[in-house]
C-alpha cells in the first residue's frame, strides 16, 4: 500500500451544537467540498467507505452525488475505531483496482440528535423495568444493571487502573490529563474551525470542572458536536495529476483481537491497547519510525485515551505517557505535537474524521496551528486503527 494512494480532497461543515440540518445535508456539504477541493466532479466518485454508525448510507450518497456506478462500498462497525479503517479500506480497494476514487466521511448530529454520552440509545427508557441486553460493554446485561452505561465511564475505569499500575496517585494522573486538556484547548483557541475557539481553559479551570466519572472530570471528555467531514482518496498517479500537493497514504491498518473491541472491560490488561506487533508493522509498512513523525492526531474520546496513544505509538514507554505530557507536553515545541486542531476535546467530535482532515492540512502546510515543515503525520485510535501519511 506504501504511497499507492493519496488524499486529494478534504471538506467539512461548521462544527456546532445544533446544525439545524439533517445528517444527509451535512454529509453532502462535506463531500461536495472535498470533491471541489480535489478538483473532481462528485459523479467521479466510484467508491464509498462509511462508519457503520453513520446514518447516511451509501445509497443516499449514490442517489445524490450523480454517481454513475459505485463499484465498491464498505462500512466499518464499532464506532470510533473506524477512524483509520476507512482509510485502510479505501486505499485497499484502490490499490486492488476495484475503485478509483473513494470518499470516506462522517456526518452526525451528535449534540442535537442522539447523544453518545447517553445510554438510552442502548437501553430503552420506557418502562418500570428496562432491559440491558447483549454482552456489550458498557450497557449490556453484564454491565448495565450495575450502572456502567457509557464509554466515558469505562475510560474512567481504565484511567484509575493506569494510575495504580504506573505507581502514581490519582492527583498526579489528573495533573497529566489536565496538561493534555489545556494544551488541546490552546490549539483550539487559535483554530477558527474549533467549537472552543473563544473559550480559554487553564489549569485552575480544568481542576474546577465537575467530576463526571471519577477520576475523570468535565474537561477530560470530548465535546458533543453536530457536523461532518469528508476526504477523497485516489491512486497516487491520479493524485499527482489532480494537484501538486497530494498527501500520500504510507500505511493504514485495522486491528481486532480477543477483547480488543471497544469499549472493553474484559481484556486481561486494560492498560495496553494494541496487539503485539501491530504498531511495529504499521511503522514498517510506512517505512518510518516514531521519531520521524512530525505531528500526531490521536482519537481522544477522553484526555486519557489521547494521552495513552503516546505509549501505543512508541513515543513514551508503557505507563509513562503521564510523565511525557507533564515534562515535554504535546504543544508546538514538544517532541510530537498532538491534536493540533484541538481534537475531540476542543475542536469538535466528528468521530475521528476531523483528525484525518487535520493531518492532511498539516502535510499541505495550511493548518491553523501549522507544525513547521511537517513531513509525516500519524493518525490513530489507540492501535485499533491507524494511518500514517506523508508528503
Amino acid at each position: 500500500m506504501y504511497r499507492k494512494t493519496a488524499v486529494v480532497g478534504i471538506g467539512q461543515t461548521e462544527f456546532s451544537r445544533d446544525s439545524g440540518r439533517t445528517e444527509w445535508e451535512l454529509a453532502l456539504e462535506a463531500i461536495l467540498a472535498a470533491a471541489a477541493d480535489a478538483g473532481i466532479e462528485p459523479s467521479e466518485i466510484d467508491g464509498i467507505v462509511r462508519y457503520a454508525y453513520d446514518n447516511v448510507t451509501q445509497a443516499m450518497l449514490a442517489r445524490t452525488l450523480g454517481s454513475r456506478d459505485i463499484r465498491w462500498y464498505g462500512e466499518i462497525p464499532f464506532g470510533g475505531i473506524a477512524q483509520c479503517g476507512v482509510v485502510a479500506q479505501a486505499s485497499a480497494a484502490i490499490a486492488a483496482g476495484i475503485a478509483t476514487t473513494v470518499v470516506v466521511y462522517r456526518s452526525l448530529n451528535e449534540r442535537s440528535g442522539v447523544r453518545y454520552g447517553r445510554a438510552e440509545r442502548n437501553i430503552p427508557s420506557d418502562g418500570e423495568f428496562v432491559h440491558a441486553a447483549t454482552d456489550r460493554s458498557p450497557a449490556g446485561q453484564f454491565s448495565g444493571p450495575y450502572g456502567l452505561h457509557v464509554p466515558g465511564q469505562v475510560m474512567a475505569l481504565w484511567a484509575r487502573r493506569y494510575a495504580y499500575e504506573a505507581g502514581i496517585t490519582v492527583e498526579q494522573l489528573t495533573e497529566a490529563l489536565g496538561a493534555v486538556a489545556v494544551q488541546q484547548r490552546n490549539y483550539a483557541n487559535t483554530n477558527p474551525a474549533a467549537m472552543m475557539r473563544d473559550r480559554p481553559l487553564d489549569r485552575d479551570a480544568y481542576l474546577a470542572g465537575r467530576m463526571i466519572s471519577a477520576p475523570l472530570r468535565l474537561y477530560d471528555y470530548c465535546l458533543e458536536s453536530d457536523g461532518a467531514a469528508a476526504m477523497i482518496i485516489t491512486s497516487a498517479e491520479r493524485a499527482r495529476a489532480l494537484r501538486p500537493d497530494p498527501v500520500y497514504v504510507l500505511a493504514a491498518q485495522q486491528s481486532l483481537y480477543r477483547h480488543s473491541e471497544p469499549i472493553t472491560v474484559y481484556a486481561a490488561d486494560l492498560t495496553t491497547f494494541s496487539g503485539p506487533g501491530n504498531i511495529d508493522k504499521l511503522y514498517a509498512d510506512a517505512r518510518v519510525r516514531p521519531q520521524d513523525i512530525s505531528v500526531a492526531e490521536f482519537y481522544d474520546a477522553t484526555s486519557f485515551a489521547g494521552m495513552t496513544c503516546l505509549e501505543t505509538y512508541g513515543f513514551a514507554g508503557h505507563l509513562t505517557a503521564w510523565k511525557h505530557v507533564l515534562d515535554k507536553g504535546i504543544g508546538p515545541d514538544s517532541p510530537v505535537p498532538v491534536n493540533t486542531h484541538g481534537g475531540h476535546l476542543s475542536e469538535g467530535y466528528i468521530h475521528g474524521l476531523n483528525h484525518l482532515t487535520e493531518a492532511v492540512r498539516q502535510l499541505r502546510g495550511i493548518a491553523a496551528n501549522q507544525v513547521p515543515g511537517a513531513e509525516v503525520a500519524l493518525v490513530g485510535c489507540h492501535g485499533s486503527s491507524s494511518a500514517i501519511f506523508g508528503r
Binding site: 445510554a119 454482552d135 444493571p145 450495575y146 450502572g147 466519572s213
Partner: protein
Amino acid sequence: MLIVPKADALTEPYWQGVKDGKLLLQNCRSCGLAWHPPTPICPACQAKNYEWRPASGRGTVYSFTVVHHAAHVAVARKVPYLVALVTLEEGPRVVSNILSCPAERVQVGMPVTLTFQEISPGVVLPQFEAAQNLRT
C-alpha cells in the same frame, strides 16, 4: 425505572445460576480455561465441550469509578454510585458494585467476595463486597 439484565440463549445458564446462588463460568474440558462473558466455544482452544462451573467467589478489585453524572435516566437519582471491575480468582473479570463498603474505602487491589443482591422481587444480581477481614 430499574435496569435489569435480559438473558439470551447463550447467557441463560449464567442467570439461572445466579437465581440458584452461584456465579457460573464456562470452563473448557479440553484446556481448562474459565471465561466470561459467555461464548459458544472455548476462546483458547475452540473446543465445544465446556461446562458451567461455579466460581469460588473470591476476587480482587481491578479498578473502579465513582459515577457522578448519570448517563441514563434510570440512575438519575442514584448518583454518585460506584462501579468496579473485579478480577475473579479463576481469571475472568466481571462488573460489580462493591457492597458493604463506603466508596472512600474501596481500593484497587483489595480482596472482595461474592454476594447476591435482589434489586427487585425475583431480580438478582451477583455482587461483590469487601472480604470479611477488611470490613469495619
